[in-house]
């Protein structure tokens, strides 16, 4: 079984503080949906409202079309994986997994069999009788997933479950979660501040800031066509220019900045708003001579070799710091600090967007 989740104008207030502000989203049955945002943006509150531990102060939450207003967490067809996993330390692994079945009055032999089956699914076939404290971080993770799957939820809710793991394991668990989701067809709602996780795993991503849903789209659209300055700056790296639109022509506009006047693509809701120009580091090229269009003379200040790409820091005549990324194809010539070059970019890759930028979360 799998079910969609509809959030209809959902708000959450804590005293005078509005943690979640009019969130509207329809999450499809079987979808892998992520809420992405900096800490304190309200994404965990949304998860707690879907699981039933917090009541929305306004709005309606429907799971499988049914209003969840008076349904207690233990009656909802959801299973929550906590950030700290919240495994029961006093029960052996198999009892942890079978707890949801025990509660439902399933007899012991069936419970044990089901727990072992789920342990095989999460690739921990010999862990049934171990204590939780004997498991490694990644193994605990799997047990938590198995425990949640055991109750055969229609919707699985995950609250940054990978944040405690080291990088390699995190990447491995990402793929694993994705595979489990595909196999079980359960709707996954995933909360994270890690854009890499959200982009790599999700069918759709909802980017949140200050309680508001900023954009809901596929990972590709979020990255390539962000709806506003917050989304653009929170997801991925950018060169950001302050300035103003000097004249628009269809989808494109002339944008005047301290670094020069550029041709760029006009984003949504930009008329009359305060706008900025966003330019991804991988969409600029550094060349010896000036380009015909969108060309900035710069001086290279620093070069960082990142392995698969080379990150080049430079400064233009207005003092603005700019970043360019070149793919390391083994043949690229690496500029040296002090070198004077020209930064050139295609108008199609420069976006004019409205709204504030994100103060970067140091964890992200």
């Amino acid at each position: 079984m799998t079910a969609g989740v509809d959030l209809d104008n959902v708000c959450a207030d804590f005293g005078t503080f509005r943690a979640v502000d009019r969130v509207n989203v329809n999450i499809q049955p079987g979808e892998f949906f992520s809420f992405l945002g900096p800490s304190g943006c309200g994404k965990t509150t949304i998860l707690r409202m879907i699981s039933g531990f917090t009541n929305p102060s306004e709005g309606v939450i429907r799971i499988g079309g049914k209003d969840m207003k008076n349904t207690r967490p233990n009656q909802r067809p959801t299973a929550l994986i906590f950030q700290n996993l919240a495994l029961f330390p006093l029960m052996p692994v198999w009892e942890n997994i079978a707890f949801g079945l025990e509660v439902r009055g399933v007899d012991k032999n069936t419970r044990r069999a089901k727990a072992e089956e789920l342990l095989r699914l999460v690739d921990l076939p010999d862990a049934a009788d171990k204590r939780v404290s004997q498991l490694s971080g990644g193994q605990k993770q799997r047990v938590a997933i198995a425990r949640a799957l055991a109750v055969e939820p229609d919707v699985m809710l995950l609250d940054e479950p990978l944040s405690a793991l080291d990088l390699k394991l995190r990447q491995h668990m990402r793929a694993e979660l994705r595979a489990i989701q595909k196999r079980t067809q359960v709707t996954f709602i995933y909360i994270t501040h890690d854009q890499g996780e959200a982009l790599a795993m999700s069918d759709r991503v909802g980017v949140m800031s200050q309680g508001k849903l900023q954009q809901v789209a596929t990972p590709r659209e979020i990255y390539d066509a962000p709806a506003n300055g917050f989304v653009a700056s929170f997801v991925g790296e950018n060169n950001i220019f302050s300035g103003e639109v000097a004249g628009a022509e269809g989808a494109f506009a002339t944008f005047r900045t301290a670094s020069g006047t550029f041709q760029a693509r006009l984003g949504p809701n930009t008329t009359g708003a305060k706008t900025r120009l966003f330019l991804r580091p991988e969409h600029v090229t550094l060349q010896a001579g000036p380009g015909a269009l969108n060309s900035i003379p710069v001086e290279v200040t620093d070069v960082a070799f990142e392995g698969n790409f080379i990150s080049i820091q430079s400064r233009d005549s207005s003092g603005q710091m700019l970043v360019a990324e070149a793919r390391n194809d083994g043949a690229a010539t690496v500029p040296k600090p002090g070198e004077k070059l020209h930064m050139v970019f295609d108008p199609a890759h420069a976006l004019i967007l409205a709204g504030d930028t994100a103060a970067k979360d140091p964890d992200a």
């Binding site: 699981s51 967490p73 233990n74 919240a86 707890f99 949801g100």
Partner: protein, 294 residues
């Protein structure tokens, strides 16, 4: 030791250690050794002390086993102390859970203060207060009759019920605090995880919260049980002719019969048998001594 020396210098350090040693030795160990030694000697006129009749034996201990009344009183004491312990737990557990997990954080210090204030009044006064409350024409009967719950006044102070009321009132906080600490140390996510997996509230308590609190409950229970079994004040004030506490018998031996030797033997019997009883109960509930020390 070295830290202590570095911090306070040799003079203060020696004073601390000597004071602690004095307290342990002179006020705890020596009196106990004195009583222990005496418990094996017969009760003799002063002139015969140290004489040929003053020999070690188990006679004082055997007196207990030869007296069915004393054995019965002892069993009552253990039984009713156990009941007091259970009642204390039944009262303290919901309260501890409320204070640790439900109550508004801002309210908790006030609630604790309210719980503490009765402790500032001496045990004697509190027991006397209950004596007044429970007396035949006391406020409790007056109130119950006034509310129309009962027609005739109830004789509260008969049997063990007034003793139990007094003991529960006196020692319930010794149960509350360890249990509160235990509940408080439980990650709230565990409670929510249990509920999220479909558990009704009682099963969450039974499978998640209570097992976690076991060491706290054990430590509170041992304290309440030992204090109740060893209490002299409450039974003296609140017991009636048909309810006697074992400590009263020890007191009779020591102060009415002036027989400190038998009194000592009885006191050690109380200590030893209670310790054995507590160890047995701990074994049944699979609690280790090291769990309690946490």
């Amino acid at each position: 030791m070295k830290d202590l020396l570095n911090r306070y210098g040799p003079v203060l350090t020696s004073i601390f250690i000597l004071l602690t040693a004095f307290w342990l030795l002179a006020l705890v160990i020596l009196p106990n050794i004195y009583l222990f030694e005496n418990s094996f000697r017969p009760y003799l006129p002063i002139a015969e002390v140290g004489g040929p009749n003053d020999t070690y034996s188990f006679d004082n201990y055997l007196k207990f086993f030869e007296s069915p009344i004393h054995i019965r009183v002892f069993i009552w004491t253990i039984l009713y102390s156990s009941i007091v312990t259970v009642i204390c737990f039944i009262i303290a557990y919901p309260l501890a859970y409320y204070l640790a997990k439900v109550a508004d954080l801002k309210l908790v210090p006030t609630l604790f203060l309210l719980l503490f204030i009765p402790l500032w009044v001496s045990e004697i006064l509190r027991s006397f207060a209950w004596f007044i409350i429970l007396s035949l024409k006391g406020p409790l009967n007056f109130g119950l009759i006034g509310l129309g719950i009962i027609e005739d006044p109830i004789r509260w102070m008969t049997g063990f019920r007034s003793v139990m009321i007094g003991l529960v009132y006196t020692y319930v906080l010794f149960m509350l605090f360890p249990v509160y600490n235990a509940v408080q140390s439980l990650d709230t996510n565990q409670i929510e995880a249990s509920e999220d997996l479909g558990a009704p509230w009682w099963r969450t308590h039974w499978r998640v919260i209570l097992p976690h609190c076991k060491p706290g409950i054990a430590s509170g229970s041992v304290t309440v049980f030992m204090l109740s079994a060893g209490s002299i004040l409450v039974p003296t004030l609140l017991a009636s002719t048909n309810s006697r506490w074992f400590t009263e018998i020890i007191q009779q031996w020591m102060f009415e019969s002036q027989d400190w030797n038998t009194g000592s033997a009885y006191a050690f019997l109380l200590l030893i048998i209670c310790t054995v009883f507590v160890s047995l109960v701990m074994r049944i509930f699979k609690v280790k001594l090291s769990d309690i020390a946490k």
